[in-house]
Symmetry: C2
């Protein structure tokens, strides 16, 4: 958990002192995802990952808090971007429009990242252990959205209104992601956009058919 100062955004470069890390989060993630992809998540032990990276089991847990976390990569960063987008939006723009555009914007990925992302999302939406863990990660996402909604309509983020919007929005985003991961459409942002437009219309049956 206590990552090195190098990872911090501020402070002087501060030349590395002490023993050099034997690997990196990226390295560990690559090795782990490769194993997950080849032999399955449950069939891969932490010992195997550690061995593949050339590091001890104990050291693996210094890079990631758990085996599950590896699949999530740098999800935290995306969360910060979402919060910024929502905060900087014009108060004139309708709430659900702001939300849709913010989610779409935070989910733009380069062509080079899409393959790995699809592997990650495929795992997250199919392996029970990871489906389970996703609820914990997504809860943070919901907190951000609920905070934004409460700021718009008043009251606290814990009230029914903000909670319902946040969790329904999460559902729309998850639907878009899993559909994109399952089928071979390259258009992730398009799926997200469509899902949020359905959400904002209250799922009008006529438009749903279209």
């Amino acid at each position: 958990m206590t990552r090195t100062a190098r990872h911090g955004a501020d402070g002087p470069p501060a030349v590395a002192r002490g023993r050099r890390p034997a690997t990196s989060r990226e390295n560990v993630a690559r090795a782990a995802l490769d194993l997950f992809n080849r032999q399955g998540y449950d069939e891969t032990t932490v010992d195997e990952i550690a061995a593949a990276v050339g590091v001890s089991r104990r050291t693996f847990f210094r890079y990631y808090d758990s085996k599950r976390e590896v699949v999530w990569g740098e999800f935290d960063a995306e969360l910060v971007r979402l919060e910024e987008k929502l905060a900087s939006a014009s108060t004139d723009e309708p709430m659900m429009d702001v939300l849709r555009r913010a989610v779409v914007a935070t989910n733009r990925f380069g062509a080079g990242e899409l393959d790995e992302l699809r592997i990650r999302m495929g795992l997250i939406s199919s392996v029970p252990t990871l489906v389970a863990h996703s609820a914990v990660r997504y809860a943070e996402w919901c907190d951000v959205v609920a905070g934004f909604v409460a700021g718009r309509i008043g009251g606290t983020p814990d009230d029914l209104g903000p909670q319902t919007v946040a969790r329904a929005a999460l559902g729309a985003a998850m639907a878009a992601f899993t559909c994109w991961a399952r089928y071979d459409t390259d258009d992730l942002t398009g799926e997200v956009d469509r899902a949020f437009r359905l959400l904002a219309t209250g799922f009008d049956e006529v438009r749903l058919r279209g």
Copy 2:
């Protein structure tokens, strides 16, 4: 998992042969929830639960597949009821109305059940391990709703439309439940009703304020 024939709904009573069970699922659940409530979920080990019931650790796992499952009680039965309600609805009634009424109906509980339900929901929505596991259970709920939506608008349950509706609906239901469990409103069905009405209006900002 392989429960006794006694639990089956059909077949002759078939007088009990063989050794009699030392306890029951209800017994185990009571003892476990009591411990969870007093000393916390993570702080309660399976050994303690087993001891409280007067049974061995190994036997505990014959009544529940996991420690997590205890909190969920007979959730499966509710799922069946939801599926029936949705299937038996008139095709004239708007989709979102059917959905709202079905979810409200399957979540009516007697006054005597509400206290225990609140404890269960409080745990499910606050203990990380259980928050995580809820995603697995709720996935079955989503499958039911997605199947219903696909039947209404055409296509398969895996398509974006049904998936978005199902997951958003789940979000609304979860919001209602957690708000109800947190605050001291006795009106669970009212919360569910309100959440689904918000959902069906596309979260109109004006109504959200109300």
